[in-house]
Symmetry: C2
Subunit: 392 residues, 2 copies
Amino acid sequence: MRCANGIEARQVNELFINIDPIQAGGRLTADAMKAVIAYGDGYSVCDNCRKPNRLDYISKPPIAEFHRDLASWLNMDTVRTVPGARRGFQAVSHTYVHKGDPVLLTSLSHYTEFLAVEEAGGIPREIVADADHRVTADATAMKIEEVKREFGRVPVLAFIDHVDYQYGNMHDVKAIAGVTRQYDIPILYNGAYTVGILPVDGKDLGVDFVVGSGHKSMAAPAPSGVLATTKERATEVFRTTSIVGDVTQRKFGIKEPEMMGCTLMGATLVGLMASFPHVKERVKRFDRELENNRIVMEALRSIEGTKVLSEYPRRHTLTRVDTIASFDRVAESHKKRGYYLASALEDKGITGVIPGATKIWKFNTYGMNAKQARHLADAFVAIARENGLPVV
Amino acid sequence: MRCANGIEARQVNELFINIDPIQAGGRLTADAMKAVIAYGDGYSVCDNCRKPNRLDYISKPPIAEFHRDLASWLNMDTVRTVPGARRGFQAVSHTYVHKGDPVLLTSLSHYTEFLAVEEAGGIPREIVADADHRVTADATAMKIEEVKREFGRVPVLAFIDHVDYQYGNMHDVKAIAGVTRQYDIPILYNGAYTVGILPVDGKDLGVDFVVGSGHKSMAAPAPSGVLATTKERATEVFRTTSIVGDVTQRKFGIKEPEMMGCTLMGATLVGLMASFPHVKERVKRFDRELENNRIVMEALRSIEGTKVLSEYPRRHTLTRVDTIASFDRVAESHKKRGYYLASALEDKGITGVIPGATKIWKFNTYGMNAKQARHLADAFVAIARENGLPVV
């Protein structure tokens, strides 16, 4: 079925249990879907734009109110919406990083953080995660000291992922922020896998910036995201324009250069807003998500040879496994080779594992109910048994 | 009727003839609406992302093909999608402009171009539009010479709006590009009001960059836009990443820092793609749009005292009028004061004029049919007559 010329209507989340690592938290709520339909047109949220003519001041639809609620929910002072978490990284990086400045990242940082540093001319310096793939406060202090020796000064900014994209491990941002604060290094909390998934309290964490992703974890259309900060940092990253036309002497009011003026518009913003009440509720139920994840993990671990590469027990639903000594052994002789796994899962109504992947792969159980979790658990075990793998 | 908690379902384009200056070209096509519904979920277009893992290489949905078609349609070599035209300005500005560099804009440039220059640390220098509010090649040459005297060097980049947002006037970009080429100044064509509205041929214009807005002029959801360029400039603005993790030695493949990696995702991109076949057709019918605009303009001009501030005859449907000596005279004594005009229009099924505006205001007749144009024309005349304004 096509929805437009040459474009198949996507029905992935209607027809399958989807365990794609990056898609689980970005499925729209029914309210977001309705809002997207109502606000699909380009500048749809601008009907009632009045002075001072900036998007986050619009009260109908209640954009201004949403901004206040969002900041309060994250326990930060100010928030802006951005077209994806990466645009939040870019704005912060561009504010603090200049050519040749050292910037703190981690050995598990997402590539978009590296690009934000590269674009600003910074030099990345990675804090090394430990043998359990966890970034610690001690390792942070060591890296800062190393940077001091190398550059004669401390890093100008630190990017720390609360839950990293590689292992879905949870890193002790609060302790790390304690260290960066001692050195007066602004710290950005990357909540791409947490804001909208589990409770986040920016002030308690002691961070300068909280970045979240709408399309990854807040049940919103792409591209969408949030950038929250403190009163103090807001004057830096959300400074208003000071450029003046040399002939016309034009100025541009309270537009913010790092935001490129008005922020997230139309369907993406209203989708984010419509899902927000649901997102606020769902973060309180994250324990249920971990319980469902545990059902799946126990099944996977019962298949002999399967290793969990993520920290265990799990503290997040995004998980990396090594099935070289289990599912991959089947691939060697299966007529579908490595594709048999994704294919067998699809036969059981499950999608989201990269076709061909049987060695090291990731999945995300976020958003499923207990029945679906048991179905997924049973499916893994059944596929193992059908292919002669021992299950203990 | 609400579409979500606290959010009224928007029905502006269903219930009214909408003459809002910025909304006319961004109304979704039916295909885009269907596509947005099918691809509303966050990372919806990433189901079939395979190596080299960059969004513009995805073939299902046909994103790669869309990029090729779009570049060819603009007669440019390479194109990327961006979250709004402004993000195209930002990428180009960031590539060419460094702190203290003079940059050529015009006295009619959009504020987002100024912000792009400000963010890169550039110094804006405006080419002055002539008495008819048109930017000319001669004025461009004069300004470049003036910059040379002031800075000892030519501007590093020029932003020229083909049709400006203030008057909707059409500026001779081809002649202007002839001048900037003589000085080896890269030139960006701002097609926010033209790409998707009328035919644009980048090579014929002789420009280095063509920027378009999806939500303003390509019947797409916000934020969306396009940035097209030549083979030569593509190696500069679309250069691939070269940053390396100091510990992990990680590199990030063919991701592009100015694009912040993968480009426009999900509902916004698929909306742009679904509307594209319709957009390609509608630009061929721009003469009909001008004919409809003429019907409205003749009616407005028949109301004594009304002045057309835009060039006349019109070459674009975005138009600025001065009704200080006509509609504004009524406002002085009307019980609704200046609000009577928008109110009377609304009674006749017309929206998009800022409530209270009766002095100098803008509207856009784009996308209406002849019957709607006549209705709008008749409405203006009827409101004038009802309020005792002479109509000639």
